[in-house]
């Protein structure tokens, strides 16, 4: 059986399979099977059993999320399913691969998911810069319609589904699931209050599920091989494989499908080939820009939701950003905070006003204009821009690399201030 289901259909040249090839390799089997033999609830249960957790960053159990959608004759319609392909988290490049190279796997996963929640309309939400991905998905959708996998009465099952592509126009907040819904409604991508959760009142006020591209791409395989199989794929029991990646000064930056729970060390040393010659590991963000730094001492951590959490960070998107010893940690964090400040939607006070302040302090420190009390102000922000204090998770995410940066690299911050310059710049 496949141990790399997600990339199984991806050719080495990464040119996507057309629908014939995909079907030939076993594609759309899962869809045929479930439409014939399974009730929506069975599909939902199978996903629950698999233990699949969302790959968008928060790791929420997918089956459970689906189970909050109102079902039955009295449920409001249309219901919606949205595939979140906004992927704008710095350091993250996994959904791009799945969109560009395995479009039918995603589409099949979406149709099955839509069936499970009895959705009527599905959108693939793709960030504006992913022009190739949008083209490929658009073409694959046409094929899927042609083949009768989409549209009215799919394969004679009585189940109907329309699927459209929406390409975005650039905002990190479009990835946040409620911001995404506003963007889809043609509005500003401000987040919405939760509760109510999108599962009951989402897109256009109707029940909606938002799932990450990678999450949805797993669905056909779970249907084909069962929950037990899926669980066993992972090393630590959390279920499935994961697209891991690495960027920064490593020998072989890249993206690999590996069992969920591989150690950081294996990832870094084996798959990424270790640090480039002349560079030493100083720290890394395990899952994108909004995760806490880990360091050398954490290399034996298993990269799954629980264990990375225990180590004081988050699995996030599972794509690590490596910071080497020749890179200035203050500059590194400054770059991240500049991103977050720029991408704040402007809705809630702490994020809108706090992040630019943080950015300016970091800039001042980096430029040699820092003051010791700046560090207190930074810490103050890491405390009060925490979860629950801001409206959505953007600002708390922004604080993760800052708080851990202050913790692990405090001396470097202080050196900047004392020396009134960046020691990494000549």
């Amino acid at each position: 059986m496949d141990d790399k289901p997600l990339t199984k259909y991806i050719r080495t040249d990464q040119v996507p399979m057309d629908i014939k090839e995909y079907e030939h390799s076993g594609g759309y089997e899962a869809l045929r099977k479930i439409l014939k033999t399974m009730q929506p609830k069975d599909v939902m249960d199978a996903v629950k059993d698999s233990g699949l957790r969302g790959r968008g960053g928060a790791g929420f159990p997918t089956g459970m999320k689906w189970s909050f959608v109102p079902m039955g004759d009295n449920a409001p319609h249309p219901k919606y399913l949205v595939a979140n392909g906004d992927e704008m988290e710095p350091g993250t490049f996994k959904d791009r691969l799945l969109l560009e190279s395995a479009p039918h796997q995603l589409i099949e996963g979406m149709i099955i998911s839509a069936y499970a929640i009895q959705a009527d309309i599905a959108y693939v939400f793709i960030r504006g810069e992913y022009t190739l991905a949008a083209k490929i998905i658009q073409a694959s959708l046409a094929e899927a319609y042609q083949a009768g996998y989409l549209g009215k009465n799919i394969l004679g099952s009585g189940f109907s589904l329309e699927m459209y592509v929406h390409t975005s126009i650039g905002r990190y907040m479009c990835g946040e699931e409620t911001g995404l819904l506003n963007a889809l409604e043609g509005k500003r991508a401000n987040p919405r209050a939760k509760p109510p959760f999108p599962q009951s009142s989402g897109l256009f006020g109707k029940p909606t599920i938002v799932n990450n591209i990678e999450t949805l791409s797993n669905i056909p395989h779970i249907m084909n091989n069962g929950g037990e199989w899926f669980k066993k794929l992972s090393l630590t029991g959390e279920g499935g494989t994961k697209l891991y990646g690495a960027s920064g000064k490593v020998k072989k930056p890249g993206l690999w499908e590996l069992p969920l729970g591989v150690t950081l060390r294996e990832l870094l040393e084996e798959h990424a080939g270790g640090m480039k010659d002349g560079f030493k590991l100083k720290g890394l963000l395990p899952g994108g820009a909004s995760t806490d730094f880990l360091t050398e001492e954490h290399l034996d951590v298993n990269m799954d939701f629980t264990n990375v959490g225990k180590a004081g960070s988050r699995l996030g998107t599972g794509t690590i950003i490596v910071m080497d010893d020749k890179t200035c940690p203050v500059g590194f964090v400054h770059n991240l905070e500049a991103f977050f400040a720029q991408e704040s939607c402007g809705w809630c006070t702490p994020c809108r006003e706090g992040l630019p302040w943080v950015q300016r302090i970091l800039n001042a420190i980096e430029e040699g204009n820092g003051e010791m009390r700046d560090l207190d102000i930074l810490s103050y922000h890491t405390k009060y821009l925490g979860p629950g204090n801001t409206f959505c998770a953007l600002a708390p995410g922004a604080m993760e690399p800052l708080q851990s940066g202050l913790k692990y690299f405090r001396e470097d911050f202080e050196r900047h201030i004392k020396e009134k310059r960046c020691p990494w710049r000549s």
């Binding site: 919405r192 720029q342 809630c348 706090g354 302040w357």
Partner: protein
């Protein structure tokens, strides 16, 4: 209280309303908790994060977690802390963040001293600035004559957009940009289109949107003298606060009344006040020199002497009252000239219609709703009224009524109704049913189903609906398919309604429309449903006039009466007759008197014809009582003492009577003597004396001060004239004093001159005056309803159904067009309103224009009542064929009779 719960706040347990959010509940408990983005009329969105409190899981939880109070539903047993150190530090931090970009320009900011941001800054204790970088700056926009824009002060609470768009239905205002450069304004510079834009001034917690008219004669909040007043610019009777310094009226603000206008006002009401400062004001009595025909100013004593002379050889005096004058003034004139010589200075036609409306409400089973009630109605039928232009705040209330049904649909989702954003997401653009039948398109069309027709067809539609509820309302024969379909739909909606409402009024001068409205309400009630019935009336005191025990004769009757029985003296009370009848008729009427005496405060065509003019006080210099369209008697008080030359009309008239030897009126000394006499003479007004505390009312032996206790400069104000501080004027008519001295606590609800509470210098201090946030004021909302329905009585049905309207070849039927800015007599004299007032025109349907080969702005010659007028054409898409729209009351616009036929000639 619907559902209650016990909650613990900082160790104390309270029983609270469980349907509210935690912030509202805390404020209702009179606990100080700062906030910005929440507004009692608009619910919660959780954006500013200012209202953070600590919430604890249970007694054992000592750590707790921060939550935004405005987003927290009340749960029984909830334990929270406002005073928790971390909560306090966070709230202080929110201010610090907001202050990173705030310009700190309080000394030059019009909001200074009444700024919610200042208050909250002090409340949270933020005082030291740690941010050391540059602030962002913005360009400001020109937003029209009413509102000043200073975006640098913005703290991004999003209240303005939420108010302007979601609450008031405006579309030309929004938020632009992103992150810390979000911008609130228009897509491009220009006059704000929404008729309720002035509320931005009060909705904005800081000085971004300020009152431009105040800015032109600016005075700090603490330096103004205030009085509780009533808006005089339409019949809704919104409660206002009027403010003065140095004898100049400075501004008008909304005075919260939970049953009437709540937190808001329309722009005519807020900005119309400047007529009081108009150069056309009559500030001294005038006598016309017989030779030069010029007016000469007189002192008040001399004026009274002169009038005595005029009256001494009068054989018969005719009095003409006015619906823009108080009950007291009309009653005093009536007492002087006696019933048979008193005419209500309104057209006979209007009187007939207003009277009919009053009779329907008085004798029928349908209740007349307050503005607040209107907001709660879920299905609304409007017959013949363009409410935005005839009774603006009713239009604003209807924008809330259409939300009733959608908001209810949030209940099964367990979304609390105050969770504004979530409710809006869930319900999207859904609107509850509202049907509007008018000849012309209205602003409310976008939220309603509309029917464009002439008055008679509107009435026919109404009768069809009525008939579907009761056979006692007659069957309409010959209905069109469109009418059948629509009336069917309306009936369906009404059947499902929990709280239906019918609105009509005299604007189209159609009795049938009013009768149809009454029939619907009565038919619904007799068929076992409920239904409320709201009528607009033309002026602030029209309903009061209708209720008065007078002969109810109008202007034409006065013309007529004079033919049979001549009179030599005419006293006109606050009325420009040229707005009521045709020029020639008025000319000839006035010409028949030896003496014409006018009491008024603004020069107008009538006052110019007078032999003597007495300088009456405007609302700002007078006390009195008005009855609004709901039948609610409300008191207004003078803001300042304008000296001996400006007096209430009732006081002038009393002086005239005393002067003429009618000594029995000597006992009418102060306002309450007049109201007492009035309610004795006319029992419908029983109790109006008690709608405010008597003049002798004192708290702890003190009067209620009109001035805040920080009022400054009193000793220096008149130092250019005399270094001796003048003795402050005394107010014998009310329990209010003209100074800052007096009781500093909260006054009774009906005589609140301004809202202030320690730590709450802005209008938001209203919170401290309400029993429950957004509910009634302590002591009850002011005013007294004088009309209640007759339950148990079977109502009379109207049986006369008009013929369907049919266009005539070559003739056009006149329908009136009302303008919020322009049609009202007083407010057009305010420069800002005047700027937005349209020029005279005639409106013709695009279809008719097409067949006549007419284009927009082209002059047309219009022949009416034997006269020809040349006016530019305005084309209108919705106007039915055969009708022609004539704007009402615009300066320079000839008075052309509504409901007459006119002829057109192409220029």
């Amino acid at each position: 209280m619907a559902k209650t719960a016990k909650i613990t706040v900082d160790g104390k347990t309270y029983e609270v309303d469980a349907t509210k959010n935690l912030l509202e509940v805390c404020l209702s408990l009179k606990l100080d908790l700062p906030y910005f983005c929440w507004h009692p009329a608009m619910g919660s969105v959780g954006a500013c994060r200012q209202c953070a409190v600590k919430k604890f899981r249970d007694e054992n939880d000592k750590v707790g977690k921060l939550f935004m109070a405005c987003m927290e539903p009340i749960v029984d047993g909830m334990i929270i802390s406002i005073q928790d150190a971390e909560a306090k530090e966070f709230r202080k931090g929110v201010i610090e963040w907001l202050m990173t970009n705030h310009p700190h320009d309080c000394p030059v900011c019009d909001e200074g001293g009444e700024c919610h941001l200042q208050d909250m800054t002090v409340m949270t204790g933020h005082d030291y600035r740690r941010y050391r970088f540059k602030k962002r700056t913005y360009k400001n926009q020109y937003l029209g004559p009413f509102i000043n824009h200073e975006m640098n002060r913005c703290i991004q609470c999003y209240r303005c957009v939420r108010y302007y768009r979601d609450y008031a239905g405006g579309k030309d205002f929004d938020v632009f940009g992103v992150h810390n450069t979000v911008y609130f304004g228009r897509h491009e510079d220009g006059v704000l289109e929404n008729e309720f834009s002035g509320n931005l001034v009060e909705v904005c917690p800081t000085g971004v949107f300020t009152d431009k008219t105040l800015g032109k004669h600016y005075t700090r909040k603490w330096d103004q003298t205030y009085a509780p007043s009533i808006c005089v610019h339409c019949s809704v009777g919104c409660n206002t606060i009027a403010a003065e310094r140095y004898g100049l009226l400075r501004r008008v603000q909304s005075r919260y009344n939970g049953e009437v206008n709540g937190y808001f006002l329309c722009d005519r009401g807020r900005f119309g006040y400047e007529f009081v400062n108009s150069p056309k004001r009559i500030r001294k009595p005038l006598r016309k020199n017989k030779e030069t025909r010029q007016f000469e100013e007189l002192g008040s004593e001399d004026a009274l002497k002169y009038i005595r002379k005029l009256l001494s050889d009068s054989k018969r005096i005719i009095g003409i009252g006015s619906a823009r004058a108080s009950l007291e003034s009309n009653f005093t004139l009536l007492s002087f000239v006696e019933k048979q010589n008193f005419y209500w200075g309104e057209s006979d036609r209007n009187i007939q219609l207003i009277q009919k409306q009053y009779d329907i409400l008085r004798n029928g089973p349908a209740r007349t709703p307050s503005l607040r009630d209107i907001e709660k109605c879920d299905v609304v039928i409007v017959l013949g009224e363009d409410l935005t232009n005839t009774a603006p705040m009713i239009a604003l209330a209807l924008r809330q009524s259409v939300r009733q049904e959608p908001v209810q649909s949030a209940t099964p989702y367990r979304i609390p109704h105050w969770q504004d954003q979530a409710v809006r997401e869930l319900t999207q653009d859904e609107k509850g049913p509202i049907f509007i039948a008018t000849p012309l398109a209205t602003r409310l069309d976008e939220i309603s189903e509309t029917y464009r027709a002439a008055a008679d067809d509107i009435a026919r539609l109404g009768f069809m609906v009525a008939n579907s509820f009761s056979d006692r309302s007659p069957l309409v024969s010959g209905a069109t398919d469109e009418q059948k379909k629509l009336s069917g739909k309306i009936s369906e909606a009404l059947k499902k309604a929990k709280r239906p409402l019918i609105i009509a009024g005299p604007s189209l001068q159609s009795e049938a429309v009013i009768e149809a409205a009454a029939n619907i309400a009565n038919a619904m009630i007799t068929s076992g449903k409920t239904c409320e019935l709201c009528f607009t009336v033309p002026e602030v005191n029209s309903m009061g006039m209708a209720m008065m025990d007078i002969t109810h004769q109008g202007i034409e009757s006065a013309f007529e009466a004079l033919k049979n029985k001549p009179a030599d003296t005419l006293i006109i009370l606050e009325n420009d007759l040229y707005r009521r009848a045709e020029e020639q008729a008025v000319d000839s009427f006035l010409g028949k008197f030896k003496n014409v005496i006018v009491l008024d405060y603004l020069e107008n065509s009538t006052s110019l014809k007078a032999d003597a003019v007495l300088s009456s006080g405007s609302f700002a210099e007078s006390d009195g009582t008005f009855v609004n369209n709901e039948g609610r008697a409300q008191r207004f008080y003078q803001v300042y003492d304008a000296g001996e030359n400006i007096k209430e009309s009732w006081r002038w008239l009393r002086d005239i009577m005393l002067n003429s030897g009618l000594h029995e009126f000597g006992k009418w000394k102060i306002l309450s003597d007049f109201t007492n006499a009035l309610s004795k003479a006319m029992p419908v007004f029983d109790g109006i004396n008690n709608i405010t505390p008597p003049p002798g009312f004192r708290i702890a032996g003190e009067k209620i001060p009109r001035e805040p206790f920080r009022y400054s400069g009193r000793t220096a104000m008149f130092a250019n004239k005399s270094v001796h501080e003048p003795k402050p004027p005394e107010d014998i008519d009310s329990p209010l004093s003209f100074t800052m001295e007096g009781y500093r606590g909260k006054p009774p609800s009906s005589i609140i001159p301004f809202f202030w509470s320690p730590g709450w210098n802005s209008q938001q201090a209203i919170n401290k005056y309400q029993i429950e946030i957004g509910g009634a004021l302590h002591g009850g909302d002011p005013g007294k309803r004088l009309i209640e329905p007759k339950s148990g009585k079977t109502p009379a049905f109207f049986t006369k159904i008009p013929q369907a309207f049919s266009p005539r070849n070559g003739d056009w039927f006149v329908v009136p067009v009302y303008h919020i800015f322009g049609s009202e007599e007083l407010s057009v004299n305010a420069p800002g309103i005047n700027e937005l007032t349209p020029k005279p025109y005639v409106m013709i349907s695009s279809e008719d224009a097409g067949s006549l080969g007419l284009t927009s702005e082209k002059q047309i010659e219009l022949e009416a009542q034997g006269k020809t007028y040349s006016l530019p054409a305005k084309l209108n898409l919705g106007l039915p064929k055969g009708l022609i729209g004539i704007p009402k009351g615009l300066p320079g616009m000839p008075e052309i009779k509504t409901g007459s036929w006119v002829r057109l000639k192409m220029g």
